[in-house]
């Protein structure tokens, strides 16, 4: 019964995402395979991981877990159902002072269990005119903790226009999700260098960056 409700909710969310955004995945750097990966993406909307999820195959979806903030996804029963049950999210506490679990440890646990992850290294939704906010250090620590797992940049285009921060009616616009080439952290690479490289790799996938 519960399993059916989860499956149904997942299907409805996928249908809604397709209806609103006609989203298409563009695999420019890596192929859609079962390889274990850390997908890292730009973050402008709560729907971001839904779009990535939508363009993954059913099998990849089952093995891929988004990393999300517990303060948002545990707030109501509906959010908890969608976050925990439908998307099987790895929930992390953003409050450094009060948190009981180290976010990096939670993520490496999920990786060690065989899952791929979707992370948003900007740490919060980008409501500014800048294409990307400066990355937080989490991606660096995660990459160093599991250096053998590839990192794949994922650019989500247009979703910020579908439902800007603060609006509650989405408008239908075509979105694309572009997957770039995989990258690894180099031995001895500094935090600053690695994050700059990861940011540049992600930004290079933005159609607006390419148009310039």
């Amino acid at each position: 019964m519960r399993g059916a409700a989860i499956g149904l909710a997942g299907t409805l969310i996928l249908l809604l995402a397709r209806f609103l955004t006609a989203v298409r995945g563009q695999w420019d750097g890596v192929a859609p395979t079962d390889e274990q990966r850390i997908y890292y993406a730009n973050h402008a909307s709560h729907g971001d991981f839904v779009l990535i999820w939508t363009v993954l195959s059913r099998r990849m979806r089952r093995a891929t877990r988004p990393v999300a903030a517990s303060d948002y996804w545990l707030k109501s029963r509906l959010r908890r159902f969608i976050g925990c049950d439908v998307f099987n999210a790895v929930l992390i506490d953003r409050e450094r002072a009060s948190r009981a679990n180290d976010p990096i440890a939670l993520m490496t646990d999920a990786l060690d269990a065989g899952s791929s992850l979707i992370v948003f290294p900007e740490g919060t939704r980008n409501g500014t005119a800048a294409p990307l906010l400066p990355f937080k250090s989490g991606l660096f620590h995660l990459a160093r903790a599991r250096p053998n797992i590839v990192l794949v940049p994922v650019w989500i285009d247009n979703l910020n226009r579908v439902m800007p921060k603060g609006e509650f009616v989405p408008i239908p616009l075509i979105c694309t999700v572009t997957f770039g080439s995989a990258l690894h952290i180099a031995g001895g690479e500094t935090k600053k260098d690695f994050l700059a490289r990861a940011e540049a790799a992600l930004l290079a996938l933005s159609p607006k960056a390419n148009a310039r």
């Binding site: 247009n158 800007p164 009616v169 408008i171 239908p172 616009l173 075509i174």
Partner: protein
Amino acid sequence: MITPHPDLVAVLAGMLVVLVVASSIGYVLQRRLSPDGSNAVVENLNHRIRAWWVMIVLMGLALIGGKSGVTLLFAFCSFAAFREFITLTNTRRADHWALAVAFFVVLPVQYYLVWIDWYGLYSIFIPVYAFLLMPIIAALRGDTDHFLVRIAEVQWALMICVFCISHVPALLSLEIAGFEGRNVLLIAYLVIVVQMSDVLQYVWGKLIGRTKIAPRLSPSKTVEGFVGGALSATAVGAGLSWMTPFTMLQAAFLSLVIVLMGFFGGLVMSAIKRDRGVKDWGHLIAGHGGFIDRLDSVVFSAPIFFHLVRYGWSAT
């Protein structure tokens, strides 16, 4: 479900035969010229044929489903086209509510009005009411940057994607003496003539095309392709007069109008794509770009065809 008219069955069967022949030719060409998928022209042709199958099946179902089916199908086409169009505009945060109203109020209301045959309102709903209402909603948000550009884009998108396309199902509301119960054939006729014109221009252009007609807008369009395609599509349209209330000469005239409007509509939509720096409007149908890429000719010919038939043949 309504029992389809024998003429409709004949038309659908005819389209099926044409597609089977086209698919067979595409298959042979692929075996001969492009066994490894390297011949772009053959691959493109086969993509198109595959997409036509989808279009014909959908059209057939809608036409058999009668008025509700046709209205729903074109309402969905409008939605998809409008979504593609708005994606390419300069609309911004302050247009959010105006766009939400356009998608979720104006579009459904327009198709509802078409469905209940309220000609007096659906023919002015978007040019008058939406035209005045949309900028008011946008103005209330107080963002004046590029204001005129933004509201003009939204209005233009509504006219093209919703108003014009809704004139296809509106053909069902015409009352033509001696043609009762067969109005779906007018839709089939319009779509067939437009599609044949596209195909024949493509074929003539590939065979004898030399002189580019608008190199900056659409490098593949040639004078030879246009003239050959327009004349042969007009001939096809005249030959199909048996499925319409028109005489052969009248059918030829209307087909010519459809073909010309479709051709120039394609040029206008290409100009917009060039302006926006894209090759296709979207990516919904493999080999055909987006919905608007397939509908651009229908968009421009449908309202003119509708009004010509209404004034010339309809009692309402």
